[in-house]
């Protein structure tokens, strides 16, 4: 039984939450329409050129040329969606409308910024993927540990530890061993987090913050004490991009998905594998049970402590792999605090992705997109100061976490220590 039926029957005024939400959505959409119409106004004569191919691509496509009148179309569409929200009060459509609306606004914004100029869309998408990798892996690490109800603020520290180890061992013993060591050290810090929160019942957020502090302190200390004088210890071979035959030649998609390095492929595979693991296997079922209702799992003979140790360690290993990207997948050398908060954004990606590996990846791509978009905008000489462009990904994160695009439910026992009786 729903409110709508009663509403019609009795004619009384029932203030339903969803109707209110639909009204708000409608208001936002109409405001966006006005924004596009007046602020992102492009002269009809001007065109925006998006390059789809690069000179060295196997299949070369022509440029995508969008006329300025595109923005008028977007404004009209937004207005239509907004008015529709008011009239139909489309409960189920609210989220979808907002999603479509935001996508349209971003397109209009791109057209506005690019009017009279051009930039490489393919390059931006490829960069989106690359920049998304550490965030996606950080988010995945978050998913793995929060699914067993351990909040993992320490992703940042694990990434940093992975980056450091990758550079050090990679320089000494070669990139493959460096990668293996990074994964192991990440796992070690995962195990440490598990020990602190599971065995010693330390507050999970505090434990995470502390690990971050510790890793930052240790890596910085060693960097200045050792690396500064032995540069050869901090100079690893980078894993280069490897083009997948045939698939890599597909225009636009090819460079984004199939002309990348080990870490991009690894992240995609890990997301697939962990989705399968969490939702289609025995181990995953048990892990999720531990995250939702540890006491129930315990009564059924599932070892809650062991499950948490195992998955948080696994999460650490994933984060260690993600951390190695910074050194072995990108620049080959470590620098103090080089992860620069990417672990926290990974955490946000996990929340945005609703504690699901695929969701985390999708969210990471959104952040990656905001990041690479910001770089393109700086090149296009938009009248927005560069500092504000640089803020864009953070503001996007806040909007996302504020749940403007729908709310999600964390695992029920998330953050709570389990005390076996």
């Amino acid at each position: 039984m729903t409110a709508a039926t009663t509403n019609a029957a009795s004619g009384e005024k029932i203030d339903s939450g969803k109707a209110r939400q639909a009204r708000i959505t409608g208001g936002i959409l109409i405001a966006l329409a006005l924004l596009v119409l007046f602020v992102l106004d492009v002269g009809t004569g001007e065109v925006a050129t998006f390059k789809l191919s690069r000179p060295r691509d196997a299949i070369v496509l022509g440029d995508l040329v969008v006329p300025g009148s595109f923005n008028l179309l977007v404004a009209a569409l937004l207005a239509f969606l907004g008015v529709r929200q008011f009239l139909r009060g489309g409960v189920r459509w609210s989220n979808l409308s907002i999603g479509i609306g935001l996508a349209l606004v971003i397109m209009a914004f791109l057209v506005w910024a690019t009017a009279g100029k051009s930039f490489s869309l393919t390059g931006m998408l490829q960069a989106t993927m690359v920049r998304a990798v550490p965030i996606a892996l950080g988010g995945l690490a978050g998913v793995l540990s929060e699914r067993v109800a351990v909040i993992n603020i320490a992703i940042e520290g694990m990434l940093l530890a992975g980056a450091f180890t990758g550079a050090l061992i990679g320089s000494l013993l070669g990139s493959w061993l460096g990668l293996a060591a990074a994964v192991m050290v990440g796992g070690m810090f995962g195990m440490m987090l598990a020990a602190l929160v599971v065995t010693y019942r330390m507050d999970q957020i505090i434990a995470g913050v502390v690990i971050n502090l510790l890793v930052l302190g240790l890596t910085s200390y060693v960097t200045s004490q050792v690396f500064a004088h032995n540069r050869s210890l901090n100079n690893a071979q980078v894993f280069r991009a490897w083009k997948v035959p045939l698939l890599g030649d597909i225009p636009v998609l090819g460079p984004m998905l199939f002309q990348q390095n080990l870490f991009v492929y690894g992240a995609l595979i890990l997301v697939g594998v962990s989705t399968y693991y969490l939702f289609y296997t025995k181990g995953g079922l048990r892990a999720r049970a531990v995250g939702e209702h540890p006491r129930a799992a315990d009564t059924l003979g599932i070892d809650v402590y062991w499950t948490r140790y195992f998955h948080v360690t696994l999460a650490g290993m994933v984060a260690g792999f993600g951390g190695a990207w910074f050194t072995l997948g990108s620049v080959g050398r470590f620098d103090e605090n080089m992860t620069g908060g990417r672990g926290y954004i990974g955490l946000a990606a996990m929340i945005f992705g609703r504690w699901h590996p695929v969701g985390a990846l999708a969210a990471a791509l959104v952040f990656g997109f905001a990041d690479s978009l910001q770089q393109k905008l700086a090149l296009l000489n938009t009248p927005i100061p560069s500092e504000f462009l640089a803020m864009a990904p953070y503001i996007a994160t806040m909007i996302v976490v504020a749940g403007l695009i729908g709310k999600a439910r964390p695992p029920a026992a998330d953050g709570k220590a389990y005390v076996k009786e």
Binding site: R54, F119, S120, T122, G123, M124, Q126, A127, V130, R131, N212, L213, L216, G217, S220, Y221, T223, S224, Q225, A228, H229, N235, V238, R240, A241, F326, S330, V331, G332, R333, D335, E336, N337, M338, G340, G341, D371, S372, Q375, K376, A378, L379, N381, P385, S386, E387, A390
Partner: protein, 338 residues
Amino acid sequence: MTFLSKIGLAAALVAGSVTAASAFTACQVTDTGGIDDAGFNQTAWKGVQDAMAATGIDGRFLESQAESDYEANLNSLLGGDCDVIITVGFLMGDATAKAAAANPEQKFSIVDFAYDPTIPNVVGQVYATDQAAFLAGYLAAGMTKTGVLGTFGGINIPPVTVFMDGFVHGASYYNEKHGTEVSVLGWNPESKEGLFTGNFDSLDDGRAFAQNLYDEGADIVLPVAGPVGLGSAALADELGTEALKIVGVDADQTQTDPQKAHVYLTSVLKRMDSTVQQVINAAMDGSFEGGLVVGTLENEGVGLAGFGSFEDEVPAELKAELDAIRAGVIDGSIKIGG
């Protein structure tokens, strides 16, 4: 995010190298970047070390972890042990001026900062980096195959953007001379807006920003962001120098980044080590006088490094033109940005 501390110290080494007999001590206070910042702190310290090697003086340094340390660090050096105190970076300008006013007998010198009016016991060291970057821009414009150059900076501040100004103007000057249409992405000298990583420590940003410029067609990139540029070099190494070359900054990066030496077309030199050593020498021989030392092409305070592995690829006529321009800049017949 200088979370706790980001500063390193090689002081064990310092303590070991000090010889007791020295009569003269030069002291350096770093800014928050630390002594191994691959930037001005390190280069200035190299100047002190060069002086130590050349004249057998004592040298020591203190690292500042936070801005509130500047004053404290200066205070702890004021005991009278230091014959000259060298501070680094415009951020230390106020603290240095204050200490200099309180201790008129103490000799100070500050890197990358100029006082107006000058202070009698402080030598400011500044650099006309745009002169050297101008040459780099001209060279790059002459070497590009795509007709597109790129540059990006760490933070939008003058010590950074002065490089970018010179680079852009150099490329325009090439266009003027040769009727070409080489463009520079990433910096607009008029609006003072451009491409910035927002930090001086994310090497990964250096790679991503260079990739961005490469995607837009740039085949030579000038990163002005300290160690961040090492990330750009990693990309050039992976793509191959046919596709992307890097112009180094501050020091000759074929020396400071030997593993990737082959990707550097050249480097825009900012010879802080040389000016620091000059100041120390002046303090030793009694010719020390407060005021300003400006590093220029003329006094070799700034300059262009060699062409490294591209020595053979740079056409002889281009080299000749660069020599002529250098002379023109020195004698004032060529105005940068004019």
